[in-house]
Symmetry: none
Subunit: 230 residues, 2 copies
């Protein structure tokens, strides 16, 4: 596994050398051609490293997401968050507090961007219930859109069986009693809406949006006392 080792050395070089570093320099450092270095950079980025590359300047490693001995994927964080929410409905205060502390410690070790996202997008509410019909759409895609702050275009059939097409800024998925609910800002109604996931007939990702544009989200989710966002 010379490749893995080289990627490690590349990360080390990015940390060690003063930013920005040119690709040629990094290629010489890791003993590889420039073309391959671009591929290696792409590999690291795919693995979650936040490497900023600017034309005319070079590469800058902005976050250290490489290997905290415990690194969790976004999906894993989300799973733990939701699990904790479920736990909090148990009534065992001691366990609830313990779980909350443990989770806080996990979130604390995340790189900033990830941590912020985890805090922003934990609208995965929980309501006790049992079995539930499997949704017809790609739930992973929906979750990804929540994470990436990307709007979704949905075909929705409401309770009166009227079918509409909507653009929604998704904020989170709510696991309620017998159905999954999507909480989002509906651009058609210009208001917050809950959508029954089972009533979403089709789903596709749209462009990105800024959650700051959704007025109540920040106050609701992070409870910051600041006046201006971020």
């Amino acid at each position: 596994m010379a490749r893995t080792d080289r990627l490690m050395r590349l990360m080390t070089a990015l940390r060690r050398l003063p930013a920005p570093v040119t690709a040629a320099r990094l290629a010489a450092e890791t003993g590889v051609s420039a073309r391959q270095l671009y591929r290696d950079i792409a590999t690291l980025r795919a693995g979650g490293a936040l490497i900023d590359g600017e034309a005319g300047l070079g590469y800058t490693l902005t976050e250290d997401t490489a290997l905290p001995p415990q690194s969790f994927s976004r999906l894993e964080i989300e799973a733990l968050m939701l699990a904790q929410t479920a736990l909090s409905h148990l009534g065992d205060d001691t366990l609830t507090r313990a779980g909350r502390d443990a989770l806080a410690r996990i979130v604390a070790t995340l790189p900033d961007a990830q941590a912020r996202a985890a805090l922003h997008h934990t609208h995965t509410a929980w309501h006790p219930g049992t079995a539930r019909a499997a949704p017809g759409i790609d739930l992973d895609l929906l979750r990804t859109c929540c994470w990436d702050e990307v709007s979704v275009h949905i075909t929705y059939r409401d309770r009166q069986e009227r079918v509409t097409e909507r653009e929604v800024w998704p904020l989170g998925v709510s696991y309620s009693e017998r159905t999954l609910m999507l909480l989002g800002w509906c651009r058609m109604r210009m208001d917050y809406r809950y959508f029954h996931v089972n009533r979403i007939e089709s789903l596709c990702a749209g462009g990105s949006f800024r959650p700051q544009r959704v007025p109540l989200l920040r106050a609701h989710s992070t409870r910051r006392a600041r006046g201006s966002g971020t």
Copy 2:
């Protein structure tokens, strides 16, 4: 980079599955042939992983206890375990698997004794429900006894209001619908019993016991296919 990802999943599987794990099982888990699995194991060993392979048994991963920068208390682990169990009842397989993997990674960083206990005593079953009356006994003490494999002496009032004193080897607490249940091996009845925690009038810790002495526990918890079990 399918290979690196597969090696990661192999590590996760080694942490998650109860030791020892056969190569065939790991091969199925990582979606690879048995021969290749042996090669992957060799790769992990070359990378420093301490994987013990015994003929006729399977593989056992002994974690490097040198670096737990994330240390969790027993209570926190238990909370996360229970939370994960609750999560698994949601029906979202992707999230469930993610939570399971994250939890396996957390457990992996624990010192050996703690990790073993965590794996053995995760009988904290979950059944959906809502509010519940607070128990009259020290729930923390009960949980501690489960962790430490210490027997408990209880004064129990059964459904016919008969009061008995029992020695119980506690295996776990089950959070069921409206009451807490203690699953344990009752030395008086020489059998597994569920005890309503609300019906336990007093509780004190006794001596230690070996869970191996409880015949069905291992078969139940590890689900071995060997002849004598189940």
